[in-house]
Subunit: 316 residues, 2 copies
C-alpha cells in the first residue's frame, strides 16, 4: 500500500465532500488506474479534553465580535490524522462508482410508471438480486440474520404455493445492513420479505397491511430487546426507487440523522405508508411519486429518451 | 480570542458529530462559562493534487486485500487544519443550543393534533414571528428579497380585507435562507406567504392549490433565470413541524443533499403535497403525520405529559 501512495501520479478529482472532508482521487501507476481516498479522522474521545491545549497560538485570521470569536489554527494530535484507502488497479466500474454524479428529480405519475419505470424494472437481470435470494434461503449471511420466519416464496411455483397457508404472505428476515457500523446510535437493519411478488412501494395495497405491520412491530420488539431502544427512537422507511426490486424496509436509529437515503424524495416512512393505505386502498397506484436519481442511472436515461421523443413528436 | 483558548478549562463535551468532524466543548474561564468549537478544515482545491506526496509513509495499521488497501497516516498541509470558534462568556441559552439533544418520533393522528399540537401552536407567543412580519412588510431584509408580490395580509382585519381582490390569497416573498452559503450547489431559499391564516401543512386543502403552484412555478423560473438551474435540480419542501407557524416553503438544490431538515419525518415534498390535495381535498386533515422532534422541545414535553396522564388514568 505504501508503494501505491509513493508511485501515484495525480490525474483528477473524482468526488469531494467538503462537509465530511472526504475526497476520492484518480491517478495512474505506470499504465494502470489507481484510486486513493483521503478522509480526515474524527476526533477520538480521549483527544477532546486536550484540544485547546494542543491548539497552536496565535490563531490565523482571528476575528472577534462581542462574545463571539472565530479563526483557524493547527491542532496537533498524537494519532494519525487521515484515513486513506487505495484501489489498485482500478477499473472503469470503480471510477464510475466514486465519480460525482448529479442527482435529478423525476416526478413519476402513474402513467409514467407504466410507460417507463415498469418496463425498466422488468429489464433488470434477475441475477442482480441473487444475493437477496441467498440471504432468504439461508445460503449466505445466515450467521448475520437477526430474525427469520418462514422460507423463501417464489410466486412462479404457484401450484405448490397454493397448498401452503396464507400466513406465509407476511414472512420476512431482518439482518444488519452492510452500512451499519455496529453502534446503537447508527443502528441500520433491513427487513426483507420472503415473498417475491411485491416490486416496490407502487405495488402496495391493503392486502399487504399485515406484512407491513408485522415488520414494524418486530423491528420495535428487537430494538427494545437488544438495545433497550424505544420505538420513538427508530425511523422505519421504504425507498422509492429502491436499489433492488424485492420488497424490503429500512430500519434505522433516528440519531443516525444522515443515514444514506433518508431524505424526502427517496425515503417514505413506514407509518405514513400504512396510514395512506388504510385511508385509501389504491393510494400508491394513484399517487404521483417524485424521486431523485443519478443522471447516469439507466432509469434516468430512459426518462430522458422518452422526453426527447415526446419533444420530437410534438415538433414534427 | 487567543486568550480564551489559553485560559480555557475543559469541563465537558456538549456535542460531537464524527461524520463532519465537529465538536462543541464547554469549559470555564475563571467563574464564567466558555464554549469552544473545533471543526477539521475541508481540503482546499489547491491541496488535492498534493495529497499523496504529503502523506507520511509508512502508513499506520496498513491492510491489504486483493486490489484494496486501507490505513491511517499524517498528511501535512500548509494551511491551518482546524476551524475554531469561541463564545465567551457563554450563557445557559448558548449551552442548551449546542448541547446534543436526542430526537424522537411522534406519530401525530388528527385527534392528537387537536388535543396537543394545536393548543401548543396557539400558545406560542406572537412575538416569535415578528421577524417574519418584518420581512413581509419590508422593514427588514428588504435588500435580500429576491421576489415580492403583494403586501402582508392580516386575517384579523377582515373588513378591510374583504374589499380586496381574491388574488391576494396567493401572494408571497422569496428570499435567501440564512443558512445559504451563496453557492449554486447549496442553493437554499425560502418562500413565505403573505397571508397569515395557514398554520402549517395540517391546514392545507384545495383552496390553497393556487398559492402552492405559484410558489413552485416562481421558484423554478427564478432558479433558471439566476443560476440556469433546471427544475429537476431543485427540491421544494414543507416542514412538519415547521420551526415557525406562518406558512413557508423551502427551496433547495438537490445537490445540497444534507440540507438541514430534508429528511423523511420532517420534509414533505411540495409536489407530493399538491398531488395529495388534488386527489383528496382533506388529505392533511385526515392523515397521520409522523414527525421527529428534540426531546427537550416544549411540544415533545406536552406529548409526554399527555401520555403519562393517559397511563395514570388507565392504571387508576
Amino acid at each position: 500500500m505504501d508503494q501505491v501512495i509513493e508511485q501515484f501520479q495525480f490525474e483528477r478529482v473524482l468526488s469531494h465532500d467538503p462537509r465530511t472532508k472526504l475526497v476520492y482521487i484518480l491517478g495512474r501507476i505506470q499504465d494502470q488506474h489507481a484510486i486513493v481516498s483521503f478522509e480526515k479522522a474524527r476526533y477520538s474521545d480521549s483527544e477532546l479534553p486536550q484540544l485547546t491545549t494542543r491548539t497552536q497560538r496565535p490563531l490565523d485570521d482571528a476575528n472577534e465580535n462581542n462574545i463571539y470569536g472565530w479563526g483557524m489554527a493547527n491542532v496537533r494530535l498524537d494519532a494519525a490524522d487521515t484515513h486513506i484507502k487505495t484501489i489498485y488497479p482500478a477499473t472503469e466500474l470503480h471510477i464510475r462508482k466514486y465519480e460525482h454524479q448529479q442527482r435529478r428529480m423525476i416526478v413519476e405519475t402513474p402513467a409514467l410508471y407504466e410507460q417507463i419505470t415498469y418496463p425498466y424494472i422488468k429489464s433488470v437481470p434477475a441475477e442482480r438480486i441473487q444475493w437477496v435470494i441467498n440471504i432468504l434461503n439461508g445460503t449466505s449471511e445466515a450467521d448475520r440474520v437477526i430474525y427469520r420466519q418462514g422460507n423463501i416464496k417464489d410466486s412462479k411455483d404457484k401450484d405448490e404455493e397454493e397448498k401452503k397457508e396464507e400466513e406465509e404472505e407476511d414472512e420476512f428476515v431482518i439482518l444488519p445492513d452492510m452500512k451499519w457500523d455496529g453502534t446503537k446510535e447508527s443502528l441500520y437493519w433491513v427487513a426483507i420479505a420472503m415473498r417475491d411478488d411485491i416490486l416496490s412501494l407502487r405495488s402496495l395495497n391493503r392486502t399487504h397491511l399485515d406484512l407491513l405491520k408485522k415488520i414494524r412491530d418486530t423491528a420495535y420488539r428487537l430494538a427494545k430487546e437488544r438495545y433497550d431502544m424505544d420505538k420513538d427512537l427508530l425511523r422505519l422507511f421504504i425507498h422509492y426507487q429502491p436499489s433492488y426490486y424485492h420488497f424490503h424496509v429500512h430500519i434505522t436509529a433516528i440519531s443516525f440523522a444522515d443515514a444514506p437515503g433518508v431524505v424526502a424524495g427517496q425515503a417514505h416512512l413506514l407509518d405514513t405508508v400504512i396510514d395512506n393505505i388504510e385511508l385509501y386502498n389504491d393510494y400508491y397506484q394513484r399517487a404521483t411519486l417524485p424521486f431523485t436519481i443519478g443522471e447516469r442511472h439507466p432509469l434516468f436515461l430512459a426518462y430522458q429518451q422518452q422526453e426527447s421523443s415526446i419533444t420530437t413528436s410534438h415538433s414534427s
